[in-house]
Point group: C2
Chain length 411, copies 2
């Protein structure tokens, strides 16, 4: 066999889609450091620092705040497979593509799903969640904060309080919003939250932060079953064995504890990346970072509207960091995306399911939640749309976005 | 909260343990490239190239050769959870720590395990595997090629032929040997093989190559169940749903196919790393690379013996890339490891289970399977051992290793 390949050389592309977004150069450089042994004191110190840093990112005092070695989805599965026992009743907020994913994973874990359904693009009424809590008496409620497929964020605070009241654990995936929208793990009574690095956190996909409340940890401890090769003789749990070894959060906690019970080999380079990602969040300040995303979203929306396009979804429940734009009748969404990429090296995307080809999604997250990136994207977008014969108020979008950004700074 | 952390700055340490080993600088640099969109044509081209490159690494013509996004263990779980149906009979080679891990994972997947047991450090007799095949009629036989916990490699070729004869699928984890010992997926009738990057491949932990034969793919296709948010309307399988979403190899194949059915967001930076890892293997030539590891192992063993220490395990079944050394009576293994690290910035490790503190494991893999690294490690080792009062033939180990390396070059 002869395989001719070249040195890695991806195009320099501005990623204004639904994620991944461009990675902060400091994070890329952090991955350039060579690995060290997984039990070396410097490595375990980096692990401990990473735990402390993500407590700040998640706004929690939870001790058990660490990384799952995989994409954002891996942490969703780790959370659900460790919490859901066979036959457990789980209420899932069915609000978009990622609500469907939660349903799917809970079912594969042996849970019985009752959905609180809303049409894509709308938010759940907490009163409906309360009804479900009363009717189904779930042990767990599972939700996605911001579902990028619909550009909509769910009202978690009210639901978290209800979960506490009805003694259900509350699991939330915050992949698309952490670091870009307010997300208060403790204040909102969230028992388990998970995320990825590749959206508002400006890191690469492939490492997934997770945080667990004491209540969640207590439930998982019931299921402690150390694997044969490394069993320590510690008391084992009486609950059912977690059906995954890789995602067994009890074993992962033992690995991230001072005992350092061996499990997988920690993904060293991605740990370096995740740590640098969190350092950048802490340096900027979580509130300042969220405000920057809010401002970018506001400017983007002002620009889209001023150029004469329709913004998707409801003003009050829209995510800061990704904006949906209605695709005009008769326009092939994909063609516009291709022209944006080919002529401007800018990525925007469409969506899934009922929204496939119906909306574009334009993100401004992580290092791309910046004035210049928003303005240049709008400049490219109006040129491409106009070139395809869509009536556009030339220049108006860019000017409106500039004005909105500057105004937003004073609010 | 105030968290003071410094820029990433790990020590420059020579990792001569059981893995991870040091990462090739070209692989570290590859991770410095910014990410691109997961469906961008350059990204999917990189994915296709990665498939082709790993076919050569695995020495297979299997089309389905790709990456699992996680540590080496994640690919083990992906293979087993996708192959093992509830109640399926599986024969596992129970040969060390990682044999126990296979048993553990198969059991969590709902399989019924029958073990072929041998004491740690020994190899399985293929006749015993044949007995198990006759008696238990398994659908699957699961094995680890080289178990670093025992520094021993199993005779896969004979077992593969038996599996074909008795119509069982054959799964092998090659994490510790791929790229460092002969491993012939097709020739040895291996249906599914998995690995990690952090041993003989000189990459970082966190990405796990996998290859699947047509027979394995046919079995997995029976279990096709697309998740709700992305279902394509394609015919679904009639077999039981795979109990993991993240590790559902059918969905992963659809993601790595020209259809690019969305699943997780591919871990871009780790894909860049995995691709560069395989490019380096192909450039060097797989046979030359294996020969380099063999030579390093031979030199290490010659050195250990000449300095007056006892090498662990059987000459004929020993792994090339990691050498066990008996810890002398009355010596605390950990203290020697700490002195190696503190005074020489060299990592060596002990082992697990019955071998904890009984042997040291000294690896020479990836970029560390090099003359200079072997010699410098031996120089440090003899100094530390001697300093602790162990009688050592000073200088003899280094000289013997130099001679063995040079000799090995002519064999």
């Amino acid at each position: 066999m002869t395989i001719a390949t070249c040195e890695i050389n991806p195009p320099s592309r501005l990623l204004m889609g639904a994620g991944p977004a461009n990675v902060h150069p400091r994070v890329l450089r952090a991955m350039g450091a060579d690995v060290i042994g997984q039990m070396d004191p410097e490595m375990t110190a980096y692990m401990d620092e990473t735990m402390a840093l993500y407590r700040e990112v998640f706004q929690t005092t939870n001790h058990w705040t660490f990384l799952i070695n995989g994409s954002a989805r891996s942490a969703i599965e780790a959370a659900l497979v460790s919490l859901v026992t066979p036959g457990m009743v789980v209420v899932v907020l069915n609000i978009g593509r990622f609500g469907l994913l939660l349903r799917e994973i809970v079912t594969r874990c042996g849970g019985i799903v009752h959905s609180v359904d809303v049409p894509w693009g709308q938010v759940v009424d907490p009163a409906d969640v309360e009804k479900a809590l009363r009717l189904h008496k779930p042990r767990l409620v599972a939700a996605v904060h911001g579902d990028t497929s619909t550009t909509t964020a769910q009202p978690l605070e009210a639901i978290g309080a209800l979960c506490r009241q009805y003694e259900a654990l509350f699991y939330v995936d915050a992949t698309a919003t952490l670091g870009g929208m307010p997300f208060k793990t403790d204040e909102w009574h969230i028992d388990v939250a998970t995320a990825g690095l590749q959206k508002c956190l400006a890191g690469p996909p492939g490492s997934a932060p997770i945080t667990l409340s004491d209540r969640a940890v207590a439930a998982i401890k019931e299921r402690r079953h150390d694997e044969g090769g490394i069993a320590s003789g510690a008391p084992q749990g009486e609950g059912p064995v977690i059906q995954s070894n890789y995602f067994d959060l009890m074993m992962l906690m033992n690995y991230w504890s001072p005992q350092r019970m061996n499990h997988h080999t920690e993904a060293t380079s991605m740990l370096y990346a995740a740590r640098e990602v969190a350092r950048l969040v802490v340096e900027e300040g979580i509130d300042a970072r969220i405000e920057r995303h809010r401002r970018a979203g506001e400017a983007m929306i002002a620009g889209i509207k001023a150029m004469g396009m329709r913004v998707y979804g409801d003003e009050t429940t829209r995510m800061y960091n990704v904006t949906g734009v209605h695709v005009p009748e008769g326009i092939e969404a994909r063609r516009i995306q291709e022209l944006m990429r080919r002529d401007f090296e800018i990525e925007i995307v469409s969506s899934f399911g009922p929204l496939t080809g119906k909306i574009w999604r334009i993100g401004a997250m992580g290092i791309n939640a910046q004035k210049s990136k928003v303005l240049l994207t709008l400049a490219a977008f109006e040129s491409v749309l106009s070139g395809e014969g869509i009536p556009i108020n030339r220049g108006a979008g860019i000017d409106a976005a500039r004005a909105a950004w500057n105004r937003a700074g004073h609010s």
